[in-house]
Symmetry: C3
Subunit: 446 residues, 3 copies
């Protein structure tokens, strides 16, 4: 094969990796499309020489995946090597709520793959499932045969096999990985994770102090069942951030004044989740298509994260407190069984509870005044299920569940970076009963 018959895509992979790169760079000028005012490239451009493998803390500030983990890697001959093992995992969504899901490396979702633009990476994928699978690297520029669509770009990885994927990151941003074989089933079972690629040299005015990664997901686990139901299309009952449902979610801890980045990725089966942060606005600064120019960034308090996309938001955490952050679809801040019981607002409970027990033995009907008071009563619920809502908060029971977490901003943090506990409000800054004097002064008649 003569050098001129090499496609620019094949050279790096077919050759010795770094060896072939110099030649490729010299071809860049001619290979670039004549964009006539267009960006030069929409797929990362021609292959480039891999840069030396970047090191955390030296070359980039690592991200944090609250409730999740970052994938380990090692360097072999200048290439970062990762290993994903697809397997069944007993996963805890929240205290006392587990199911047998499909994940990677003993985790649901899989660990966050973190690298730096210019890194060459090799990812081995071992299939320990009972079904064939593949991995698609969502948003990543790579050779067509590494794209991971079963049947179209490769054959599926049979149970027991280990496949090798390999490319050089020619972009930075927030991306995702997931099964692309029998997607509906395998993604519903949990086969997905996040990918973060840092810029080789991040501009000073884009650097942050905290860099969080949150993957949004939705599941149907029938109360008492041992595994998710992949056929569900609409009535999801476990809504998760990094595969945890409140009160199982892990808070985002920040110091007052920190520049904060939150990278949201959504691989829910069907829903586009609107994630709302209390107390702040943020700017939407990037998608899985890359960083938005400043001129195009939208200020928001709620960012809609369409499924199959990522949204990166940034803000300065200048207001201390315990700030809720959650999906704004009201059924998505409920846990199991929130939607499956009759409407009892204003109705006597006696007969209805009997009826409901035919469906969910031992379960209690929704209160005649709603559900706010139910979770805290300690009523009987089926084994391996969680109350519809809640956890004890600093003031009262928190009547939220599912896709809900807390951004904890403090002037001082514990030295070990651990959860600082509940916020202590400055005196006089908490909503409470109005005094008789206040009501009289303001002419309020109640």
């Amino acid at each position: 094969m003569s050098s001129s018959s090499l496609t620019r895509r094949s050279a790096l992979l077919a050759g010795a990796g770094l060896a072939g790169a110099a030649m490729l760079q010299s071809r860049e000028a001619t290979a670039a499309p004549s964009g006539r005012g267009w960006d030069r490239s929409y797929s990362g451009g021609p292959d480039r020489a891999a840069s030396p493998p970047a090191e955390p803390d030296r070359d980039y500030r690592p991200t944090m995946t609250p409730g999740g983990a970052t994938a380990p890697w090692k360097v072999v001959d200048g290439v970062k090597v990762y290993h994903l093992v697809a397997e069944e995992v007993e996963h805890e969504f929240a205290p006392d709520m587990k199911a047998r899901c499909w994940g990677y490396n003993g985790r649901v979702h899989g660990p966050t793959i973190e690298a730096v633009e210019g890194d060459r990476v090799r990812v081995y994928v071992t299939n320990r499932l009972s079904a064939p699978t593949t991995v698609h690297w969502h948003g990543i520029f790579l050779p067509n045969g590494m794209d991971g669509v079963g049947g179209l770009n490769q054959r599926a990885i049979a149970p027991g096999e280990t496949f090798r994927y390999e490319w050089t990151f020619r972009q930075s941003g927030t991306f995702m990985y997931h099964s692309h074989h029998d997607e509906m089933t395998q993604m519903a079972m949990g086969l997905m994770g996040m990918i973060v690629v840092h810029p080789r040299k991040e501009p000073a005015d884009e650097q942050v102090d905290r860099d969080f990664v949150i993957m949004l997901g939705e599941w149907k686990v029938v109360p008492g069942a041992s595994k998710p139901d992949p056929n569900e299309m609409t009535d999801f009952n476990l809504l998760t951030m990094n595969a945890k449902a409140f009160p199982g979610t892990v808070p985002l801890v920040c110091k007052t004044g920190d520049r904060v980045r939150i990278r949201l990725g959504n691989l829910s089966a069907m829903d586009h989740h609107p994630i709302h942060l209390h107390g702040y606005y943020f700017k939407v600064v990037a998608t899985d298509g890359g960083r938005l120019p400043r001129s195009a960034q939208w200020p928001e308090t709620t960012v809609l994260v369409p499924t199959g996309s990522t949204r990166t938001v940034e803000f300065v955490a200048d207001a201390p407190g315990d700030w809720a952050m959650h999906c704004h679809m009201t059924h998505h801040v409920m846990n199991q069984m929130g939607h499956e019981i009759p409407n009892m607002i204003g109705v006597d409970m006696g007969q209805t509870e009997k009826k409901a027990r035919h469906v969910v033995p031992g379960y209690m009907a929704m209160g005649k005044d709603g559900m706010g008071d139910m979770a805290q009563m300690g009523m009987a619920i089926p084994d391996n299920s969680i109350p519809m809502v809640g956890a004890r908060g600093p003031f009262d029971y928190i009547t939220m569940g599912g896709m809900f977490t807390i951004v904890k901003v403090r002037d001082e943090l514990p030295a070990d970076g651990s959860d600082p506990g509940w916020y202590v409000n400055p005196p006089g800054t908490v909503a409470d009963t109005a005094t008789t004097d206040e009501l009289r002064r303001d002419g309020i008649v109640v």
Copy 2:
């Protein structure tokens, strides 16, 4: 407590309000995060002195909430005082269609709270419901203890109690308020409203002639039932603008050439509504995160309003006519029962109607040619329900319902600002049957 131990957040509230402000302002420089190119603040910045309470017409042009109302207020010692009473309300969605909902001050939704940047406000909330509640001020920068998440930021307001919320508006834009205790139930029952905060001094090129406020909502009221069903997750059958379903909605009346702003807020349980305006394009100029820079504004004819967010659009009403404006999800421009009957396209009706009557006594099956001709037949429908679609229009029956209204643009308006009636089209500008001569000239064979 020494002055240096004061947080910047607590000072204004703990102190005498206006009194503490001068001191705070002197601390701004040190309190500001060193953003290195970032905006200085993402939560409104340090507390600032409240400005003198702004007056409508003098300091700002008031908004209008078609089919709704604006909350009254009074000034006490330089503070604007509002009072919300959460209570059960018999609400009319459309003529002959009522349900017992939960609202504020006898209204569903609650009245629009209108103020101006720099105004200090005190909002009393009285709970006359049978369940505990709270109010969250969506998008507003305020002390953490005023944020209204039950359990997390405050204890819930028990039935009979009156709570006091208080802050200074340090931002302008379109925001919302709603219950944040047992959200799924209480929001589905109607506990929500809009907040508009005008800039203290609006730039001339952002001023408008008409400023409309529309809150989008969705409900399930089983035909014949007396109250909404908060457990519904997908099959909503009353889709509303300011809690009214067409033909109950109130049109938006404009004069030709008016600069028009429409502030859309969505607190539907689950849906992101795409609101389409006929005959025009508009620009999306703001979210609940604030005003978009001009460089970032998108032209649209349909704006997607994710639930839990606001979208403000602006245009010049330079084309006279009766222009439809509606959600583009086709089931959301239907009223009750549009979706609950068998598909009869092309089928004989006899047997089916009998079957359907087992479910909805007295009801008629969907016509074999669709539903366009049904509403106008005056067929029997259950008590306290509305036809799937429609109202009499200037030409024919309008086969739309739900989240549908009309923007009426006229060269001349009634002096009292009332509905100008149907548009009178200039001769020759209405689609109608082609003449034989036209068909012959154009070679159309039918």
Copy 3:
């Protein structure tokens, strides 16, 4: 009628078309709203003289609607004349999967109407359906009486009648047309199509080499039924691009280096589809509200297309390969029956299949390892239905269906522009089993 009593809207239509235009132009200055920094017009401005009818290839590069067609037209006295016939159509969604739908001119959806800014157009609409209908021109600036909302802007077109619509295009972009009478029924049956209006003179840096048009749709056709069910609100089972479900979709063929535009329009009943392109990012450059300024364009790999809107994306096809492009909602890349069978992951099949056969005679239960292996088994399915997923691919069975297609980018294309077949990957660039040497070198234990 004196000239001063003419509205600017009626003159062109009531008069001789081109004849009245000169007079209108002289009125533009006074008719324009005093926007004080605003754009002069949000509805196309005052009527303008029609330009001479533009010719394809000479005045614009025609679009292509893969799997669909472009509407023919002829010029009569300087006006482009089109004819749409609404009628029942036997439509093939995919091989062996047909249903009786409603379309235009024997097609489902209707043909793409293509024109150029400044063209004057006359569209005749003949109703050969059994029900009254209308046509709304979504996003188009036109006289109010041409807007097509049944009852509001015109009377409905009765069966057998032919109506005339007429206007001058005063804008360019991607728009849509659809029934606006008994919308829910008639749109669910298929009455819709795309409209493309080219600029009179396209700026050089906005010109493209390939210009594709894709309309997104969703349908419920019960397996074995002969027609769509318009009452379905959530559980759609045929998800289409240009009314075709994979493997019935037609690929988008490009030459390496081509500048590519894809115009996506969505008139699905209820869903906002997130369309993901593999291997690339693109820029969102336009909506049905018009072209976005460069400063506002977002880079994306997945564009959310809200129903009732269009999104135009552009990229340079500089990476050869077979790249998947599809809706990222996992149930939308499944065909019929994907969602209607019990969850069998890890369960013995015997009893379940018997049970499922009560519902769908002859059908097979979902495999205990998911559904990836089912479609290729040649199992019995009901007449006139399609497997849940798939088609044979170059490597393996492709386990995707529905709203899925392939962007085929090649260095060389067949001279006749036909489908170039499957991509031949350069050696060493396809994910495959890792060798023992590779595993040993990289220290991977499996």
